[in-house]
């Protein structure tokens, strides 16, 4: 069905206006990151564009180190979540044992406890384990994920039970079946969950703020806060350059996987 031309024009006008408004802050930050401080302070349009702000940001702050830390931590959390969630989802779908339903409700209950409400004892636990300023302290607390378990459970349920029965007759154990059949068949969902895990870990703020005290494992988000608070002359160009560096990896990841993410998250949320 084709839309009348007048209606189509209305939609395009709405799309362009709202699209511009939504994207304006990001676009503004991008342009500012190439502007000289003088232009920013006087509020003029950019008279010249250069990479000076990026050179300064990398020169004055260990941004590369922060980026590396964020990457390691996000990748660790992503892997941990994928492994733990898929194991748990497998048990909930393919194994039958006493107390399974009770455990399932326990997993649901974990979604009701906000991490922020249990942050004080968690901080003390990490401190007592000697995990402050360690990758372990920044990643391991986030490995178990009820949302991820549900998302994968949803997907595993679509694998025919006959497949498991056939594999049992062939003498295949559960762990082998999990590794060689279930995981490859569900790679799309695993990818969705992986992207989601990486995005949310990369963007974490409160916990890295508490669990890091020096540059050795500090993440790029906290680095950006430092850049913003320590920047003496209110050099907004440099601050924006830092912010753009922080968002580029996640924006690229989002653009590549937007369609899959949308489908995967909607399924996990609703069924």
């Amino acid at each position: 069905m084709t839309m009348p031309i007048s209606k189509r024009i209305i939609f395009y006008v709405l799309l362009f206006i709202t699209g511009f408004i939504v994207f304006a802050p990001t676009l503004m930050a991008l342009v500012m990151s190439f502007m000289s401080n003088k232009d920013i302070m006087t509020g003029s349009f950019p008279t010249m564009l250069s990479f000076d702000n990026y050179v300064k940001a990398f020169g004055q702050f260990p941004l590369l180190k922060y980026l590396f830390n964020s990457f390691i931590i996000s990748a660790l959390i992503m892997l941990g979540q994928l492994i733990l969630s898929s194991l748990a989802a497998y048990a909930f779908v393919f194994l039958e044992f006493k107390g399974r339903d009770l455990l399932f409700y326990l997993f649901i209950a974990t979604m009701m406890v906000p991490f922020e409400a249990s942050i004080i004892p968690n901080f003390h636990t990490i401190r007592d384990l000697g995990w402050i300023d360690k990758y372990e302290g920044l990643s391991i607390p986030f490995f178990a994920l009820a949302f991820g378990t549900f998302l994968l459970r949803q997907n595993f349920k679509q694998i025919p039970k006959e497949l498991r029965e056939a594999s049992q007759i062939a003498g295949m154990g559960d762990f082998k079946f999990y590794l060689s059949v279930v995981l490859p068949v569900s790679r799309t969902s695993l990818l969705t969950l992986g992207v989601y895990g990486f995005l949310t870990s990369w963007n974490m703020y409160l916990w890295p703020l508490l669990a890091t005290t020096n540059d050795s494992v500090r993440t790029v988000q906290i680095g950006l806060k430092q850049l913003q608070t320590q920047e003496q002359l209110n050099d907004w160009g440099v601050i924006m350059a830092g912010a753009i560096i922080v968002v580029i990896p996640t924006l690229i990841l989002l653009f590549i996987s937007q369609n899959k993410l949308q489908k995967g998250l909607t399924e996990g949320a609703l069924k």
Binding site: M3, L14, F107, I120, L199, L206, K225, L265
Partner: protein, 314 residues
């Protein structure tokens, strides 16, 4: 006679074996199930259930700076909170913040999802643009808006001044600060909410619209009678998530206002953070955390009790 006995005995032995095997099988499958679940259960216990219990426990004590309990004081932490004007202000700000952010996030995202669901050329570009704020971290988003809200060189006040309107002290005026933080939050929320709502819209059967078209139904009639009812499970989910997220807001506050001016943006998680990690009063902070937990529990419960009734499932 003897033959009969043997048969009965045989049957009994068979039964015993069968029972034993079944029992062993059950124990085996239990162990196997637990092995698959154990990693998650252990981590949930250490980083979720134990801390929850510990938080409740701490909330009845005074603590030293290392977080060890010193004096049991019963409900005193809670009594102090409810008589403290600062905490009451924090509660009020938190609820106002939820009231400002949740409806606007949903309405704006729903509008965007609806215009992005039309079959038009280049629609993929707009979908990417709308969902882009999901990829922008709280720290980066706050920095963007910190500049936009800057009193002298910020873009918003510059625009106001060229229009001949006096600049607003977005983050320094107690009447505006919570509002400014809300705008930032709504902008940040749009990406995720849009993506989920668009997914919901796309799963509506196009047959419904086609038959409405045959009946000559107008655009807004279709929105009211088809889109909204069919989308209600997705809306329900999105509302719940947005409310819970609003109660957990922290990063924006830490970068934009640090709880000020005069505590007008001291939302509950920021208040917990300050009490625990700046003032080292872990008992009082724990009491606030328990209250946060109860509020979220009640919110989720109310949502399910009253929200679900209005939801139309396919």
């Amino acid at each position: 006679m003897s033959l009969e006995n043997i048969v009965i005995q045989d049957a009994q032995i068979g039964q015993i074996n069968f029972e034993q095997v079944k029992k062993r099988q059950r124990a085996k499958s239990f162990i196997k199930g637990m092995l698959f679940l154990l990693p998650s259960i252990i981590l949930f216990s250490i980083f979720l259930f134990y801390p929850l219990g510990r938080t409740i426990y701490l909330s009845f004590f005074l603590t030293n700076a290392a977080g060890e309990t010193t004096v049991f004081i019963g409900w005193q932490n809670y009594v102090n909170l409810f008589t403290s004007p600062i905490f009451m202000q924090s509660m009020k700000s938190t609820f106002l913040f939820v009231l400002y952010t949740v409806p606007f996030t949903i309405i704006i995202s729903l509008f965007l999802a609806m215009i992005a669901n039309e079959k038009l050329k280049g629609i993929g570009f707009f979908r990417t643009v709308y969902s882009s704020t999901m990829g922008i971290s709280v720290a980066a988003a706050s920095v963007f808006w910190l500049y936009l809200f800057h009193p002298s060189i910020g873009l918003l006040n510059m625009i106001l001044e060229t229009l001949g309107i006096d600049g607003i002290g977005w983050l320094t005026d107690p009447d505006w600060a919570l509002f400014a933080v809300s705008i930032t939050t709504i902008w940040m929320n749009i990406g995720f909410t849009f993506l989920i709502l668009l997914g919901g819209l796309q799963s509506i059967d196009s047959y419904l619209y086609e038959s409405a078209d045959i009946d000559g139904a107008g655009y807004f009639y279709k929105v009211r009678r088809i889109t909204i009812p069919m989308l209600s499970p997705t809306l329900f989910f999105v509302v719940t998530v947005t409310i819970i997220n609003a109660f957990q807001t922290f990063g924006q506050i830490d970068i934009l206002t640090q709880g000020g001016p005069v505590n007008s943006t001291n939302l509950v998680v920021y208040s917990i953070y300050r009490e625990a990690f700046v003032n080292y009063k872990f008992g009082s902070a724990s009491a606030q955390a328990v209250l946060l937990f109860i509020i979220i529990l009640i919110m989720t419960f109310l949502q399910f009790k009253f929200g679900e009734r209005k939801v139309h499932y396919q």
